[in-house]
């Protein structure tokens, strides 16, 4: 393999890759992201490969197994280019028909197209589907075109041109100025301007300097970084080399969580290939700039996403955060000046260098520029990864892109920012999604998790869920976090079991204030957010739990009961057979069945089994078999 020792050499490789691409009549791209893997895409891919082989189509048809294309809900996904046909929910059996119809007869297979839920029209092309139409794909733009293990595919989309421009046309100061001018704010959640961070680090006298990429992505409900690394690792590597040039670092680390085996694999592989091409290592692209990268595998600890803890973890130690200042740009990895940015931040860097700060600034709001990737998940029709311009409203995201709430349910809130964020109620859905507005509403941008909650989601249970998570993930170094979170969790648990008092809400707010003021690191500091935001916006739900002993959303097992509607019950016996605790009485074909709520554990199995929708969840206590009394007596 020839090393790239000049911009001309790179250009030649890019042209060769484009030519190679043009030799094929069409490309069938299958999404091989983890979401589609979960929907069984591997079997479809195997079938596709063997059918293409069998039909001797290998010369004219190229197959690409890409990273995540975003619309995970509808996976396994396939796009055929240049035709543009977009097929969803594929099964291996669909492959022969696709090859015959779309490849040979140039017609689309209607039954595999996406159906617009509103108009019931079939939509052929990806870009016309509402889920994609309202997006602004920058970092994510090429995910659907690139086979992550093929550097040629990255060359084909002008990959590494930004690096050539950086090394041959710009000084490190130029790069920093351009990034500051673009106002690229950290995509990991806090929103600190990346260019300023680089500038501070460059100003430090201590050597060597280090660069690190945070791909720990511990927020439950978020998987953007995983999908970028899995789908387009060279983009991140290119962004990192540019940043390293700007700050004067010669060694960098990509810290990936071990739960993401495919991201680890693709990143390691891409680093190796980049090294072979002379894009990493000594004398990059024939210049005197040298920089190398290494993958550091995390071992599953949420706190390791905190910058000082992450650096301890890269050093091979326990990820305990430390007091700041000194900031990482002064004393980071191995005590040396270190810049830590998130995957998505690095992903934006080559785009800014290529298109300029003015272009980047033309997208977004006054203080939040560019686009942001979110994982739109939870109780929403179109789940998946979306990249939207800053300043888009939550309403547009949930309803236009997300297609609303499944089953005609009513939306209740959107949770952003993971365990550090908060829940934003439906009446605030017109606020613009950017760093500042979300913080004002008591949540935060976070890394990009966006979990939609409907009327069946209990907000007290959600707050409890996050605290339970944080209790496990607290490192235990500082007292407020170590003891405060379990105490709050205790109170929330009591409330969900019907043992709460009005005083509990005051206590929760009180402890929250103390933790916020005194915790050592960001984890503790933001830990009360899910509780505070739910108390602020959903106080009535807390009060229903406390005063009425009822969970209005029908979630908390002690504060609900199940009831069979005698009108609807056909005495089919299914529920009785399915009940794991024998709480249902009745004879097949006889009187309507009856659930004994003294025995029932509210597991929901009977509701799933009942074909007549005859079993309902009722918030509150059933007379004669009050569950809360049972708890009190224990």
């Amino acid at each position: 393999m020839e090393r790239i020792d000049s911009p001309e050499k790179l250009k030649a490789l890019q042209q060769a890759a484009q030519k190679k691409q043009e030799e094929k009549e069409s490309f069938i791209t299958m999404c091989g992201g983890t979401g589609c893997q979960g929907s069984g895409c591997q079997k479809v891919i195997d079938k596709l490969k063997s059918e293409v082989e069998k039909r001797n189509l290998s010369d004219t048809i190229g197959i690409k197994i890409t990273g995540c294309q975003g619309f995970c809900e509808q996976g396994p996904l396939m796009v055929i280019r240049p035709q543009g046909s977009f097929y969803i929910r594929l099964e291996p059996e669909d492959i022969p028909e696709i090859l015959e119809e779309t490849i040979e007869n140039k017609k689309s297979v209607d039954r595999l197209l996406y159906t617009d839920p509103e108009s019931q029209q079939k939509i052929e092309k990806e870009q016309d589907i509402p889920f994609y139409k309202h997006q602004k794909r920058l970092v994510f733009k090429n995910n659907g075109f690139i086979e992550p293990t093929e550097i040629d595919d990255y060359f084909n989309v002008d990959g590494y041109s930004a690096l050539a421009k950086t090394l041959y046309e710009m000084s490190p100061e130029d790069v920093i100025e351009e990034t500051i001018e673009a106002n690229l704010r950290g995509r990991g959640g806090a929103g600190f301007p990346a260019g300023k961070k680089w500038k501070y680090c460059r100003q430090e006298e201590a050597e060597p300097k280090y660069l690190a990429c945070n791909a720990d992505e511990g927020d439950p409900g978020a998987y953007m970084d995983r999908s970028i690394l899995e789908g387009n690792p060279h983009l991140v590597i290119e962004g990192m080399i540019i940043a390293a040039y700007a700050i004067g670092a010669h060694q960098g680390y990509i810290y990936v969580r071990a739960e993401y085996p495919l991201a680890v694999k693709h990143t390691k592989q891409a680093i190796e290939v980049a090294r072979e091409y002379g894009l990493l290592g000594d004398n990059i692209m024939g210049t005197d700039f040298s920089f190398d990268l290494e993958v550091a595998e995390g071992a599953g600890a949420f706190v390791a996403g905190e910058s000082t803890a992450l650096m301890h973890s890269i050093e091979g130690k326990r990820p305990m955060p430390r007091q700041t200042p000194p900031r990482s740009v002064q004393q980071g990895l191995f005590g040396k000046p270190t810049v830590l940015n998130n995957v998505e931040t690095f992903g934006n860097v080559p785009l800014i260098i290529m298109n300029g700060a003015e272009w980047f600034k033309s997208i977004g709001t006054e203080n939040s520029k560019g686009a942001k990737i979110f994982s739109l998940v939870g109780k929403v029709n179109n789940t998946g990864l979306i990249e939207v311009p800053m300043g888009i409203t939550l309403r547009k995201i949930v309803f236009d892109i997300g297609g609303g709430i499944p089953g005609g349910k009513k939306v209740k809130a959107v949770q952003t920012g993971g365990p550090s964020g908060g829940c934003i109620p439906e009446d605030l859905f017109d606020l613009k999604v950017d760093f500042d507005e979300l913080s004002e509403a008591g949540s935060m941008m976070g890394s990009g998790g966006m979990v939609v909650m409907d009327e069946d989601t209990c907000m007290v249970d959600v707050a409890k869920f996050f605290l339970d998570f944080l209790k496990d993930e607290s490192c235990g170094k500082c007292l407020p976090c170590r003891n405060g979170i379990p105490k709050m969790l205790d109170i929330l648990t009591r409330i969900t079991e019907g043992l709460g008092t009005e005083q509990d809400l005051i206590k929760l707010e009180d402890i929250s204030k103390t933790i916020k003021k005194t915790a050592l690191c960001g984890l503790g500091d933001s830990a009360p957010n899910p509780v505070l935001s739910t108390i602020e916006y959903f106080r009535d739900e807390y009060e229903a739990h406390i005063h009425d002993l009822a969970c209005p959303a029908g979630v908390c097992p002690e504060l609900i009961y199940y009831e069979v509607d005698p009108e609807e019950c056909k005495a089919c016996d299914r529920c009785k057979r399915a009940c794991p605790v024998d709480a249902i009485a009745g004879e097949p074909g006889g009187d309507p069945y009856v659930i004994d709520n003294k025995i029932c554990i509210s597991c929901g199995t009977c509701i799933e089994e009942c074909p007549f929708e005859a079993i309902a969840v009722i918030p509150g206590q059933q007379e004669g078999s009050e569950k809360v009394k049972r708890v009190a007596q224990k």
């Binding site: 983890t34 979401g35 893997q37 979960g38 929907s39 995970c72 809900e73 996976g75 992505e217 511990g218 927020d219 439950p220 409900g221 978020a222 998987y223 995983r226 071990a258 739960e259 993401y260 595998e297 995390g298 071992a299 599953g300 600890a301 949420f302 973890s313 890269i314 050093e315 091979g316 130690k317 326990r318 990820p319 191995f334 994982s375 739109l376 998940v377 939870g378 109780k379 789940t383 998946g384 990864l385 949770q415 993971g418 998790g449 979990v451 909650m453 989601t457 959600v462 869920f465 996050f466 998570f469 496990d472 993930e473 490192c475 794991p580 554990i601 597991c603 929901g604 199995t605 799933e608």
Partner: protein, 163 residues
Amino acid sequence: MAFETEELKAIDKIIAENLASKDQQKSPLLPVLQDIQKFYGWLPEKALIRASQKLSVPLVSLYGIASFYNEFRLKPLGDYHIVVCTGTACHVRGAPLLVSELERTLGIQVGEVTPDQKFSLETARCVGTCAVAPVIIVDGEYHGKISKKEVQQLVTELREEGE
């Protein structure tokens, strides 16, 4: 708990390789534990003791790291290892009910192994496949949008497969 010769060689090799890493500034503790776990699938006490001796590090420091990170296991897995994702998206789509269903079906709690060593059950904080929630992972294979009924079927199939 004695070592087989091969085993001992493998552990010593892991330690030697990590000590020889070019990055001398880095503490070898985390990577050594990761490699030992890759070898066994978990961290047996004897291997930790060996590592502690070879690295001249107190056993408690190794235990500190092993118990801090979620990835490490101090118990072996079952033949089939089931992980239920309990991230936010899975939580609001019913993951807690899947967990209790599996606990009932397998007769063990999260973190335990069935007496016949066939199944082990764990929860994960988020496996990053939120769009197809709820998700369970069986021996590394992702099953998205899974219902309680499908979980039952899956366990039944695995039980039969093992017989």
